[in-house]
Symmetry: C2
Subunit: 548 residues, 2 copies
């Protein structure tokens, strides 16, 4: 059916008295846009939302014990209603169908993902951001906010690189300089970093126009390379797969170097990979170091990677989406030593800066590196302007800088240090508990505040202690842990995530299903950690082997 036929049909489905209804709907809709806060509709919605929020925040359970199938049933309507739905009806159903069955990411016993409780000031700020509805892409829709964003990014840049005052005076509000880019998340940050690294290293030279204008194939030809690669540990986040795919260099050319038993990249192997690529005439766009793997929180030896990158004149990127804020801790920042040598660094605001979802950042040692991706448009994004969208993957975007700026100011260095220290302290507590309990096996000493371990069913406890597990035993334990994690999630009282690790056993790599704890919620206590472990023990006691 074509649009014009549809138009006719839908006209018929309208009321006979279309003209009158049309003016009524007009008044109804216009009323929604009245620019005062205290309208009766908004007051009414506010009350419902406050009730829903209060209940949501105070719920200790990680989740409701309701099967996905039942939830799915509520979301099978593909038709937009003709008439506006009544506010009360809608918010009621939103509460019943969405809010009730959402994950209590702020629960102190939800310690399985990188999303935790948020400080209360983000709530009024979220409202203010929506009231202001600035578009950070350009100065004409985000006047003071553009400068506020630059300031917040400069503060983070300084925390990483600590250049002298005059560097920041020169660059903080210089429209030719880009100390960092605010993006929607770590994936976009990593892709942006790879894009800048690629365009800079394969840029214009002599008669060659550069990869941006001439393309990848021509660039490789001009520079005499057979291909282009990105090198990092096998634990690189899957955003690098996206970057390698998107940029056309292929996911096969995302070279994943093995890690050691601490889940840190094997430096010898990394050095060898660089040598191999050079010998094969492959251009190395970047070497990636990880500060806090998604999988286990491990931190690569950044100093050593920096050295290899410097010696070989290769862009050094640190993916510190998770671990970046560890630099706020005087006690633990040494784990990130070398990050200040990175050409680019990714840090997420919505992870360990305790800001709402949707805040990623990429920082650049060289404030002119991002010029390699600059674009212009006549209707906006003018050269020489302060338009932040000139050097960015994204276009229009919200004023999330408000959260970043507020977080840095309201929590401060000491506040963030406390949060980081506490997370690591509690993780060490959990590691000690796990080591002390025969039901569990710690799978790696935690570098930061991620922990991987597994449950050991009773009949295997001695075998594990004596390192006598067979591959078949291991497989049974794997099935058990996967089942246990799913069961725990389904029951919903507490939550731990899971991952699969390759671990050496009898000199052979075997896949091990691991429980993965992420301890970042300031509200999580040692009692909560015990409760989560006890919940697992209790659930496990009801699981019989073989599992059907």
């Amino acid at each position: 059916m074509t649009l014009s036929e549809r138009s006719f049909l839908s006209t018929n489905s309208f009321s006979q008295n279309d003209q009158i209804l049309h003016s009524e709907i007009g008044e109804y809709v216009k009323q929604m846009f009245v620019p005062t806060l205290g309208t009766s509709i908004e007051t009414q919605i506010n009350e419902i939302v406050n009730d829903l929020s209060e209940e949501f925040l105070s719920t200790k359970n990680a989740n409701t014990n309701v099967n996905l199938d039942l939830i799915i049933k509520n979301f099978g309507d593909s038709k937009i209603p003709l008439e506006p739905t009544d506010f009360e009806t809608y918010f009621q159903s939103l509460g019943d169908n969405v809010v009730s069955h959402s994950i209590h990411t702020s629960s102190s016993q939800f310690i399985g993902h990188m999303t935790a409780a948020l400080p209360s000031f983000v709530r009024p700020l979220a409202k203010l951001m929506t009231v202001m509805n600035q578009n950070a892409v350009k100065i004409e829709t985000a006047k003071a906010l553009s400068f506020c964003e630059r300031e917040a990014l400069a503060m983070m840049h300084r925390q990483i690189y600590d250049f002298p005052d005059k560097f920041y005076t020169q660059h903080i509000q210089n429209n030719q300089s880009t100390l960092g880019i605010l993006v929607s998340g770590g994936t976009t940050a990593n892709i942006t970093a790879m894009w800048c690294a690629r365009n800079t290293s394969l840029g214009a030279k002599n008669e060659f126009l550069g990869i941006e204008k001439a393309g990848l194939t021509a660039a490789l030809n001009f520079y005499g390379y057979k291909g282009a690669v990105i090198i990092g540990s096998e634990l690189m986040h899957f955003s690098f797969d996206k970057a390698a795919d998107l940029m056309g260099i292929s996911t096969q050319n995302l070279i994943r170097v093995p890690v050691d038993s601490h889940n840190r990249v094997n430096i010898q192997a990394l050095g060898q990979a660089v040598t191999d690529c050079r010998q094969q005439n492959l251009h190395i766009i970047a070497i990636v170091g990880i500060a806090g793997t998604t999988d286990s929180g491990s931190v690569d030896p950044l100093e050593d990677i920096a050295e290899i990158a410097q010696e070989n004149n290769i862009h050094f990127h640190v993916d510190a989406a998770w671990g970046g804020p560890v630099i706020f801790s005087r006690k633990h920042q040494h784990k990130l030593a070398g990050i200040e040598k990175a050409d680019s660094v990714t840090i997420d605001g919505h992870k360990q800066l305790y800001l709402p979802m949707g805040i990623g950042m990429v920082f650049f040692r060289d404030p002119h590196l991002a010029s390699s991706i600059e674009k212009q448009a006549s209707y906006t994004m003018r050269k020489g302007s302060f338009d932040l969208g000139k050097r960015a993957l994204e276009g229009s975007r919200p004023g999330m800088a408000l959260f970043l700026h507020a977080g840095l100011k309201l929590i401060g260095l000491n506040g963030y240090e406390f949060l980081i220290d506490e997370g690591i302290r509690k993780t060490q507590y959990m590691a000690a508990r796990i080591s002390a309990m025969p039901e569990f096996q710690l799978l790696a000493e935690p570098d930061t505040n991620l922990l991987i371990y597994r449950y050991i069913p009773e009949q295997f406890i001695e075998l594990v202690a004596n390192k006598q597990l067979t591959e078949a035993d291991n497989q049974v334990i794997n099935i058990f842990n996967e089942y246990l994690q799913k069961k725990q999630r389904q029951i919903g009282r507490t939550f731990i995530s899971r991952t699969t690790k390759n671990i050496i056993n009898f000199d052979k790599e075997v896949p091990v299903v691991a429980m993965r704890a992420v301890i970042a919620n300031p509200l999580t206590t040692e009692e909560d950690i015990d409760a989560v472990l006890n919940d697992q023990i209790q659930i496990a006691s009801g699981i019989e082997i073989p599992i059907n």
Copy 2:
């Protein structure tokens, strides 16, 4: 200075009585995370934010009359404070330095950009979204929300494609299907569409592993192409430059076909470009049609483009970031006829769906097209799961689906139809006013609700009427209009944006600086439109030629 040296230095800068302070800061910070809404701090912030919001929303001026230089001075501090800043002090300064000098995007006389007033229900919803803080990347952090998002996207999909009921029953909550992807904005949506089109058309075949795994150069080799291109009108959004650069096909291979005097792509020229590329053995990744150019709101002849794409078996993408919601209007949807033949469509929620900044969408005719960009990770994003992040450019992202779902339900088809019709009606009013006023020249009949025109200084009025303008005259008028637009923006009472168009004059293309009005705010009245034009006339009367 290395991190470890810094660590030492910053330790010294801490208070002597570090231990005690550390516990005090701990209590202070933990207090921020208390999961009840009514804490005294939050109540206090809420009051400040309400006052700031009330004032912001009720201000009629587009902007404050303050120079950027003065604003910049407030954002020159690159140091994160050691101690948390007091809430009241911070929010006070936020009000003074940021809110006061932000753009009143909701002002009824701010009619220059695609950001307008928002319905009041988004404000409580913004708070609820932040309270819930779901991460839409995976089911384990966004249970009901994942299905709610799929439902909202299906509703939009149906509005575009109108497939029969059984299609939606089959795909709406099928984890193998992707009817659409929610992204942060139109740029990411367009890039995602190009990525899917590229990966599908250069996919695995026989022994070839496909572009994802083997890369662009190998893919072009295997399929026997000399290069890859994207074809569209010269008015394509600059996100396609980003896509072409990022994907390695080069911005030179973004083929920009001329437009006619209505700013619609010249179909003959487009057909010729396809033929030329075929003859040159260039792979055409996609043909792009625009439904609402950023520049002037014009809509390409989508039916004709669809025909060319179909005949040549090329992916047809419609960038309807701006104009997409015109399908809600029975009166105007015929302008978008052909959009239902597109393989992919971009629509922005934060434009004409009147939702907050940060909502882009891409829709697919074939629910399996996005499989071409699928990625997995062991710690999450498992095959066969409902994890929305499997097929997406972005990773972690906020629950913006809440706004989309609420908008569609609370405004409804009739409500959106009213909003679209009104915007176009008022734009026609403005076009008529401009045509009737000698001070102005209409530069194109508006297709939708964007309008381009310019101010004509008195000494040129007759020359314009008699079509006797010389190139030198035109240049004077250009300088005048640029100056006028900047002056108007700086004074801040009202706002119109500007762009540069190439317009035929004496059979020669000359660049014309144009005023660009975007009329989407439901609060904008005919009186507001008159006020904006009169403001320009008044400001223009004070400008002398030559301009210094």
